[in-house]
Amino acid sequence: MRFPLVESIIWTIVIILVVIIIILVIYLKILRNNIRLTDKKNKKYTTLVEENLIKFLYSEKESILLTDTQKKIIKKFKKGVSSRRKRKIISDTFFNLSQEISGSMIVTMHKLYEEIGLLRYTIKKLRSKKWNIIAIGIRDARRFEIDKVKNLISNFINHPREEVRREAHLYFLELFGYEGMEFLDDLKVPLSEWDQIQLLGEIEKIENHLILDVSKWLVSDNDYVIIFILNIVKMFNRMETKEILLTLLHHKSKDVRLKAIETVTHFEVLEAKYILKSKFTNMSLKEKIASFLLLEKVASDEDNIFIINYTNHENFEIKHKALSILKRIDKNMYDALEKKSEDEDYNRIINFLDYSYGI
């Protein structure tokens, strides 16, 4: 008697599963049809937007007044902007074209962007409570070069989400060039390596080659700002900041000191050598290695006593640098060194230096 019961349970399960599969298949079919339909509608609307946009751009006259065709097109765009799907298409089409062309058409497109109400939606996004919507709003303002929302965006310079902050920082640099760097005055939060790379990329694109005074940011309270500006000093060879660079060698932050050593090494600042030698014993290992990189460039025979003290240093890199510098600046002192030691690394370095040409 138990067998029919099990059998009926199995059959019930099978029937339920078959029904579920049929429902899912129908659902999938409807979903696919909907996606295809939406895609078709989007393509059709994209073509329409493209045609209208081109018509608008080419029907512009010298006068500041809009032509009848332009007025009609604006009306059509305004109608489309109220739908989220169509608004996205309009916005993307505008962006696609604005990336590819230059000249007066870009100005006309920016005017059109405001005229049809897209600016209103951008401001709405900037006032959103959701961080991702704010980031999209800033991106839109950046892409369409809307400087009217500058004050609103300045509120996001220290936003808790780095995605929002990043967009805000890029907005200022892309739209206002060197002047946009003023946001660094108010920056209280960190700038990640990735942020710095992106900002440096933007700075490189700035066409205005005015000499920018970066000294005020080299004494900023935010260590990240100092490190970022040190990258700019290096990138643009701002040698006039030399005195501040020397003071940064005494900065309270280890990272800033390290970056400052890297920067003075880039410029081969001789004065830095004396400062670094005087505080060498209290430095971290990274700073010591960085200092030896500077010495490698600027050491002279007056440094032989200092250098010889580190030829037996426990760190391989320092030991190697000390020996190779000594060989270069004072060959007699180098030759007078013991060539054999209990330290295998020392022996290898000596062997390498003695039998390598050109070192």
Partner: protein
Amino acid sequence: MSNKKKIVLAEDNSVLSLLLKFRLEKDGYQLFIAVNGKEAIDFIETEDPDLILTDVMMDYVSGLEVISHVRNQLESKTPILVFSSSGQEEMVLKAFNLGANDFMSKPLSPNELSIRVKRMLM
């Protein structure tokens, strides 16, 4: 038979190709728009254009392959103008080595393009 000069424009950005089509047709040329290199080659083979405008980076067949096809397979001397974006300088050099005649970097000015096209078709 129309005696308008024929131009094949290979560009994957539909709105840009529409804008350029509008502009160049206004200047009196007959335009054939290709959305990728493969379509461009088809147009070039069937229409025998007076000028070819091509983007360097495109789907399926790149602008470089289009130039190579025109110069090596078809052995045609039709002038070719290449569009490139910033950071594609090496591609532009390759395009010139393959036989391109001129280049314009994006973002491009439609007015400048119009002048260059006129000059190349003189």
